[in-house]
Amino acid sequence: MSTDSFREMKPVSGPAAHGQLARSGPPEPALDAGASPTTGTGALQPAGGGRKPVRRKGLSERNRPLWMLIPGGVLMFVIIVVPLFLGIYMSALNLDQYSLRKWVSAPFIGVENFVEALTNSPLLHSVWLSVSYSLIAMLVTLPLGIAAAVATQNAFKGRALVRSIFLIPYVLPSFVVATVWRTMFQPDGVVNSALNVFGIDGGLWLNGPQTYWTLILVQIWASWPFIYLLALSGLQSVDHEVHEASALDGALWWNKLRYVVFPYLKGPLALAFLIGMLHHINNFTLPFVLFGVPAPADVEVLPILTYVTSFQSFRFGLSAAMAFVSLVLIAIPLFIYLRAVKLDDAETPGGKK
């Protein structure tokens, strides 16, 4: 169904016709043109002879209960939009423990905080660490999650058990995951003892350059079930007929997977990639509990940096500027990506079902 042809019509005034078209309520019985808005546009053209270029609402758009957005919208406004703008305002203030009490009248210093954040703080290094670690963790978890989903797609004995076990890392609180791993990664902990058996010196996991890989490893362990879940939901949406059809065509399992099943996973996995990346970049608990504060320089990721700036150095203004800069830095690729996958537009013609 398309309403595009209406837009091409020349505007000719006609109060009655105008009124009829603008309203999207129940059509008046006398006008048969209005009674069948979905039967194609061709029938309408001669009847009106020319109408206002009003975009006709589609069937699924009519009578939308938009008021249902109000509760969520109000909460969004109070909890996200207002603080966001307060945060932006704070980033222009010289706000620290000395001026906190009268924070509204803290000295206004314009972009100084931004200049300091960009030129004289580890911010850019942190951005690089955050993004690269998130990307590596994501690229490893994707195949892991897909493989696990494919493996548990068909029923076998004990599948329910395996599926439940797969979800354990996902349901454990981050704090618990990090604490357990921290214990295992001690210099004389079980990880190094196990490596010693094979004659490998594990070295330091919680300090020094290796921490970067420690963080990635634990992040992978904790987050692959999320990919698995979304991949599984994608697999469930593959119609039975598709499997049959491909079997009739003689496709072997790899070809079937590659050309028939994976296209179905594109949508859910794109979503998983996006949410997963944001989740990794925002993950504070994991690095905080694993490495403590001050963090080793190799894992001073964004959330840790903003935390230390805010709550150890009490530079609230600077920290707000840092948060804002990193928000922008992350929003740019996010925006491009969203446009590319059109995740937000399920009704686009030709889009995946």
Binding site: D96, Q186, A295, F311, F316
Partner: protein, 453 residues
Amino acid sequence: MRFAPSAKLAAVALTAALALTACGGSGSSTSASSGGAVDGAGKTLNVLTGVNNQYPEEQKKWQSDIAAKFKEKTGAEVKFETFASANDELTRIQTSVVSGQGPDVYSLGTTFTPTAYATKAFVTLSDDDWKKVGGKDRFNPAALGISGPDSEHQAGIPFVSRPFVMAYNKDLLAAAGIEKPATTWDELAEQAKKMTNAGAGTYGLATGYKDNFDPWKFIWAMSVQAGNPLVDGDKLKMDDPTVKKAYETYFGWLTKDKVVDPAAIGWSNSNAVAAFASGKAGYLMMTTSSSIPTLDKSAVAGKYAYSIMPTTAPGESSPKGDGDKAASILSGDNVVVADYSQQKDLAFAYIELITSKDEQLNYQKIFGELPANAEALASLTDPKLQPIADAAGKSKATPFTGAWGDIQLGLLNVTVQSIPDLAKGSVDESALESRLKDAQSKGQASLDRAAKS
């Protein structure tokens, strides 16, 4: 998304502001008393204090007891609120500071007091106010060292002292032919070497290099004892040779003297306590009286004693400056009264009660923490506590500046970034110097901001 911390703060501020408007009608009137007994009938005093993880049940009991006594004395109720971590406390204070309402009385750690003071949200006590809490001279003079920038401007009222000492294993010292615990850091290293037997897993010293606080306390102590107060007016002296020497000594226990378990690079203080408790260490460094319950239930029960830590800097033969008064950082809890409080007299009356001799001794008996009340401190007779009480008198305050939080973080960060080198067996001198230089410039920037405001 990424704006979490600032957004959170702002959200908190907003919520607080909303709450403020909502509660506008119910604010209590100012206390009308003038000297003498405070009449608090029908009023409620809100007290924010840290949760005691070691003795949670006892804490609840103590709170209800003290509330009953307070009610008897003034007719007012006390409502206790607890925070679980320093971070909780900070958030609570920030919220209250921004919104101008919240608890009337706060309990603060000593090292956090300068930061809290810098917010100007708490009452700086006048002579009159001091009288209301029982007079300044009821307190151990050393405990007042971190109540304010000078003796005329003090906001923190000492409640308990928690000085740092070292514990030693009497058997191990005797077996190595050591008669009494070391009083200089050099002597300590020598004694530790005698007690170390790496083959048997016994080491001279137990200390955690990955602890979030201990490392900077060592560096601070050794520097101060060498005559460098770290903060001199508005100059930071972290690039001073004394500081470098302190780090070299502290790292040297592990890399040169080899008197510390190599695993200690991953230890926090509690790991060190456990190592000492199993009888595998001669000395347990940087501990407090709160280790008594653990040690009394361990393999070293009855075999250990406390001693004040050395007060002679490494390489020196006697303490320099006021080094002999720097056996420990001034540690413990202060109570402060919020500036926005509508019932300050009631708050002072509460503090008068909890800092009285009897209550302080009672508190010591239950929780093991030393009284800040001078008379109560003097009346302690337990020989095990004697060195700890000594240390309470020989505690020196860390520099009183709002920049201290940053400086402390910088000191700690030098250790954190050096741990990989420690694991390899030696800390490169030039690497240490560049870390110190970095810490110096960041700390100095923070001091400059403190000076400007």
